[in-house]
């Protein structure tokens, strides 16, 4: 799949934002006053920038409101509804924390649950797609959820939790890669089933339909070099989870926490880039990929 910067930003930033909001909602971090403005503001800003980035991905953002209508069937619609609901439900809690110093735990908890559901919905947008076998696996939601919660914990300065979540995230990422590398072969789809000609012999693309490019190739047929992918995985694992975990094991300081955050975000950008770029869509079978 094409690693679109808008989607990489969307999933990482909104994940981080909703992750932070979850921590704030469940009251595991309960800032008040100016601190609340800073923390909730950060959560809202990250979620908001992420959602805005997602809107950039749309051909017609002016019709975005329609995306709230199909929550019965569509994970993307659910994600829209849940993210809006999270932000709405969390708002009184945030305002109360900031301006009156009195968090509203019920709304906070509800908001926290909604934030988690939002992250899950984001993950499910990808995990539901059977045509991308690498994504269509139980390991996709854990990566999204753990990344959001780990990043959120870092932002919420819940460093111990962050450490364990980082370790869990590293396991989830590795599981996603290991499983992912076998998913395509395991999907049962190959050039033979794609064309139905597999029974006759070995099927190979002779020529793509057009010599010119097309949307499908740009959007869904992205080939990453094996070496390149390997390097990026190491970066994603090292910077995104294990590095921060190591830093978190050091005596706590703003510097290490900040460094851990920067490493984590860099690593997660790499992870997300790979998440898209490595994902093989079965339509590639029609293009010899």
């Amino acid at each position: 799949m094409h690693p679109a910067p808008s989607l990489i930003l969307f999933t990482t930033l909104s994940g981080l934002g909703f992750g932070l909001l979850a921590w704030l909602g469940f009251g595991l971090k309960a800032p008040t006053g100016f601190a609340a403005i800073v923390f909730f503001g950060l959560g809202y800003a990250l979620a908001g920038i992420g959602l805005l980035a997602a809107a950039f991905h749309l051909g017609h953002p002016e019709r975005a409101l329609l995306a709230f209508t199909q929550w019965r069937s569509s994970w993307l619609s659910r994600e829209a509804v849940l993210s809006a609901a999270t932000l709405a439900v969390m708002a009184p809690h945030a305002a109360a924390s900031a301006f009156w110093g009195t968090p509203l735990p019920v709304l906070g908890w509800l908001g926290g649950l909604l934030a988690l559901a939002t992250i899950l919905a984001t993950a499910m947008i990808y995990a539901q797609i059977r045509a991308v076998p690498r994504w269509h696996h139980w390991s996709t939601p854990p990566v999204f959820l753990l990344a959001a919660l780990a990043g959120g914990a870092l932002l919420a300065a819940k460093l111990t939790a962050a450490l364990w979540l980082m370790l869990a995230l590293s396991l989830a990422m590795v599981a996603h890669w290991v499983a992912g590398d076998r998913r395509f072969a395991g999907s049962g789809s190959d050039a033979g089933t794609a064309t139905g000609l597999g029974k006759i012999g070995k099927v190979r693309l002779l020529e793509p339909p057009h010599s010119g490019r097309n949307y499908l190739l740009r959007e869904m047929v992205h080939v990453v070099g094996r070496k390149h992918a390997h390097k990026l995985r190491l970066i994603a694992l090292g910077l995104g989870a294990l590095g921060p975990a190591f830093l978190l094991m050091l005596p706590a300081s703003y510097l290490t926490a900040l460094l851990a955050l920067v490493l984590h975000m860099t690593g997660m950008l790499a992870q997300r880039w790979l998440f898209f770029a490595e994902a093989e869509h079965v339509v590639g079978l029609y293009y010899g990929r």
Partner: protein
């Protein structure tokens, strides 16, 4: 409405004969022409005369080579457009309700005025049947020429998809695949029509007919066809007798 109908009244679709398709791209262009003028936004061509032209097409013809152990390699031209799946994953993922499967005939359509151009439906489709238009930024797909097949402004005989009407070799057939007695269903039954990527669980309506066995000409004993074989009796003698019989 992006929930799939539990049942459609009919299942209109195409049957594509891979034994007959010569790969001429006639269907590709007639589709482009019709759908540029009709249903929704025109199919645009970006950088149309430039270094990297990229246009929207709802139907494209791939070419595959099939190599076999004991016989010469085959080339199969392979037209592909929306298969109007019963279990269309492109429909259920749509966040706005723009994508829908019609209850009356099973045609999968995009209501372009509700399309936000998120592209998720194209991702969900295993077949590459949907393309985002480069100029209009809405999702385009085969409509099965829904604006032809019921069009009262067209003569009855023209109420079929543009690709079917134009196909010079007659490799494309259109009809109701829910009716076991329809011509298309009969054809599928007789020629062992198949689904593309059945393992994806999409339950496509469109079917493909496989190429017939190739390079199977076996050699009868030519001499046995001859009465009497001239070789046995000398050519001139045979000729003389044969002329005598005329």
């Amino acid at each position: 409405m992006t929930t799939l109908p539990t049942k459609t009244d009919r299942k209109l679709g195409l049957v594509i004969d891979l034994d007959t398709c010569v790969g001429c791209h006639a269907c590709v262009i007639s589709c482009k022409g019709w759908n540029t003028q009709n249903y929704g936004a025109p199919l645009s061509d970006m950088d149309a005369y430039g270094a990297e032209p990229e246009g929207t097409f709802l139907n494209r013809v791939h070419s595959f080579e099939v190599t076999r152990e004991q016989a010469p390699p085959m080339v199969v031209h392979f037209p592909k457009s929306c298969l109007h799946c019963d279990n269309a994953p492109c429909v259920t993922v749509c966040p706005t309700g723009a994508s829908y499967k019609r209850t009356e005939d099973g045609i999968v359509l995009v209501n372009e005025s509700a399309c936000i151009g998120c592209g998720l439906c194209a991702w969900a489709c295993p077949y590459g049947a949907r393309e985002m238009d480069g100029a209009e930024k809405v999702m385009k797909k085969c409509t099965l020429c829904v604006d032809r097949i019921y069009n009262e402004n067209l003569p009855e005989e023209d109420r079929e998809p543009a690709c079917v009407r134009t196909c010079p070799a007659g490799a494309r057939h259109f009809g109701d695949l829910s009716d076991p007695d329809s011509d298309v269903s009969q054809l599928v039954a007789a020629r062992e029509g198949f689904d593309l990527m059945p393992e994806q669980g999409t339950q496509p309506v469109n079917k493909y007919l496989p190429p017939r066995a190739r390079d199977s000409l076996d050699m009868p004993d030519l001499a046995s066809l001859c009465d009497p074989a001239p070789e046995a009796t000398g050519f001139l003698g045979w000729l003389d007798r044969a002329l005598e019989k005329l």
